[in-house]
């Protein structure tokens, strides 16, 4: 198994940095009450999306759940349309109709994200079946959270994926929480999600985001496995979100999470780990310019919106049905 190359690692780093900058900007700007929709930020979890985004192919599809900003962005989803979407503008990727929880960028093969837990899973499976039927290249990445495992439809979907041997890679980001509720209240103690899935007959992998480089290599391994075996695969990645479940703030004052866990994850921030690793490999590695120019780019988008936020009129009726 070849390790992920330096240049790829660099891209992954840049990808996750972009996501973090965007999400942190949203977190800051949210308080202006201009993004008036429920918004689940990915801060702390960016590296997973960033890695899959770089290591997968353009022809692969992504489909995701409520916490989908990172997945959308890592796939190359249009950033301006994304920010406009959060502001409810008709120039948003879903014309302002979908908001943060319903993103799409078909040009980039980001097929959609939606907010009912597990609801997008079978749709991803259907996309994979369509790929199989058309003998189209690529696989479908279905992003899910740890609560997705509790919905029956996940298992129905698993069964079908294996039955038909569909080109699917499940990426399960296990951040231990569903809203404020720890896994231990929802799933049997000692369960290993990836092992459970393995027992369905699907090749399954595990990685811990705090062992960042290893995790990136494991993701790469999953993708190679899928490519060469032409079989479905599953990966569980243990990670952690920094902010509240939904919204722009920290909420650890509520004490629903273990302090040790919080400090472990903040000390083992994956973006920094990767940065340090890159610097170690190449002393000249410097991302400052990249970072500054991206921050400028993002700020300009927000500023433009605030200068002129008169949205275009649209006729909602025209979106209910497609005309024949």
């Amino acid at each position: 198994m070849k390790k992920v190359s330096f240049s790829k690692l660099k891209k992954i780093y840049e990808n996750s940095l972009k996501i973090r900058i965007l999400e942190e900007t949203i977190s800051r700007e949210y308080k202006k009450n201009k993004m008036r929709c429920p918004t689940h930020l990915s801060i702390g979890q960016e590296i997973v999306a960033a890695s899959v985004g770089i290591l997968s192919k353009k022809e692969d599809y992504f489909i995701s759940y409520h916490r989908s900003h990172a997945h959308y962005l890592s796939k190359g989803g249009d950033i301006i349309k994304f920010i406009h979407e959060l502001h409810g503008l008709s120039t948003g990727c879903s014309k302002g109709i979908g908001g943060s929880m319903h993103l799409i960028d078909l040009k980039k093969n980001f097929y959609g994200s939606t907010a009912v837990v597990s609801s997008s899973i079978p749709i991803g499976v259907g996309l994979a079946l369509s790929k199989q039927l058309s003998k189209e290249a690529g696989v479908v990445f279905i992003f899910i959270g740890d609560a997705s495992i509790e919905e029956g439809v996940f298992f129905e979907a698993l069964n079908f994926v294996i039955l038909k041997n569909l080109p699917v890679i499940f990426v399960c980001e296990n951040n231990s929480f569903s809203v404020y509720t720890h896994l231990s209240k929802r799933q049997p103690r000692g369960r290993k999600i990836y092992k459970l899935v393995e027992s369905f007959g699907i090749k399954s992998f595990f990685a811990n985001q705090s062992e960042t480089i290893k995790m990136i290599n494991t993701i790469n391994k999953v993708i190679s496995f899928s490519k060469f075996s032409k079989k479905p695969a599953f990966i569980e990645i243990k990670n952690f979100r920094y902010l509240e479940h939904c919204g722009p703030n920290y909420d650890d004052n509520l004490n629903y999470r273990n302090n040790r866990e919080i400090s472990f994850w903040t000390k083992n921030d994956a973006v920094f780990i990767l940065e340090k690793y890159l610097v170690k490999l190449d002393k000249t590695f410097n991302h400052k310019e990249f970072k500054d120019s991206f921050i400028k780019f993002v700020n300009r988008i927000f500023r433009k919106i605030y200068m002129n936020n008169k949205p275009n009129k649209i006729n909602l009726k025209n979106f209910v049905y497609k005309k024949a």
């Binding site: 879903s94 997008s120 996309l127 079946l129 369509s130 129905e156 025209n318 497609k322």
Partner: protein, 345 residues
């Protein structure tokens, strides 16, 4: 002579032939029953990639259908009873109905969902529900309910061609209904058909109730009563223009919503529409016949008064027209569509 079930089969065959991306699936499509004989020969002609059996996973299979549909594989999904489809309401309502809307028109969902409604032979509480009013309530869905082989043929083809999710509901008792030959004239989803004309009354029916009134037409006409018979065909969108036109003439309305429970029903919706229309003034208060607000019992004995009978219909028409009709004595068993039928489904 062509039967309703054969016209469905022809429409599927035609659609699979004319669009080689069309996919059909559901429990029973490839088994010896061939989904009440409506999927006969499809496997043989189009192969298992395009016509396949599924696990008993209604919810996931609906989502999988949506995934196919948004990636340019229109599909037809089938359920032997509407009741089983209750497992898939999240996929239907939160995804299929909204996908086109919630992504600002990016992708529509060309999926047709065939649902069979059961009746009689003790189908009972969990095998006989008809929830067209639920589906009509949801923005983004279309609801089609054919009555005869010809319109079933044309409307199934149109439903499959439609770029939006269409709930296509077949009453099990229609499957053996036949017409001399199939009329392939295209019927637009949203258009009703006028099956007879008359000035005394407007009778609105759909699905099985169309047959119920057709079976009584002679005897009613003989008694000097002539009526506009509107067969809705499409529940959503509904052909309000035609309903209105007829009511402006007859000023007298009977809705035969005989396969539905009453509350928040399609019948109530039509009455609400016409009652809010200032142009329409009726001679009588509008009338509708529905099942009671009670689930379906299993027993032969206790379904007898549960279903709407010929007598109930005749009585209501006499009341609305103030004319006498020679009461018929109905010797048919109320729990079978024809004497040959022995269940079980």
């Amino acid at each position: 002579m062509i039967k309703f079930k054969d016209s469905i089969n022809l429409a599927l065959d035609h659609s699979l032939r004319s669009n080689n991306r069309l996919i059909c699936f559901g429990l029973g499509v490839n088994d010896p029953s061939r989904f009440f004989e409506t999927t006969k020969k499809l496997l043989e002609k189009y192969g298992e990639n395009r016509v396949f059996e599924t696990p008993t996973s209604e919810n996931a299979m609906t989502g999988i259908g949506i995934g196919l549909a948004i990636n340019n594989y229109p599909c037809v999904m089938m359920h032997q009873r509407l009741d089983f489809f209750l497992l898939a309401m999240d996929q239907l309502v939160n995804n299929a109905a909204k996908w086109h809307f919630m992504y600002g028109g990016k992708k529509s969902v060309p999926i047709t969902i065939r649902l069979i409604i059961g009746k009689g032979w003790g189908q009972g509480p969990t095998h006989s529900q008809s929830l067209q009013s639920w589906f009509a309530h949801i923005p983004g869905l279309k609801v089609v309910m054919p009555s005869l082989p010809s319109n079933a043929y044309s409307l199934l083809i149109q439903s499959i061609k439609d770029p939006n999710p269409v709930i296509f509901i077949e009453h099990r008792w229609l499957h053996e209904i036949s017409e001399k030959k199939i009329n392939k004239k295209k019927i637009k989803i949203g258009d009703c058909q006028l099956l007879s004309k008359g000035k005394d009354l407007t009778v609105i029916t759909y699905s099985l109730s169309t047959i119920e009134i057709m079976n009584l037409k002679k005897i009613i006409n003989k008694s000097g009563i002539n009526f506009d018979h509107i067969d809705l065909l499409s529940i959503k969108p509904i052909d309000y223009k035609s309903i209105k036109k007829s009511l402006l003439k007859t000023k007298n309305l009977l809705i035969l919503d005989s396969i539905s429970n009453p509350i928040c029903s399609v019948g109530s919706e039509i009455i609400s529409l016409i009652s809010r229309d200032k142009d329409i003034k009726l001679k009588n208060t509008p009338s509708m016949l529905t099942l009671p607000d009670i689930s379906t019992p299993t027993s032969f004995y206790y379904t007898k008064n549960y279903y709407i009978s010929k007598k109930d219909i005749i009585r209501e028409i006499m009341r609305l027209t103030n004319k006498q009709i020679k009461i018929i004595i109905d010797r048919d068993l109320h729990d079978v569509p024809n004497p040959k039928f022995k269940g079980p489904f």
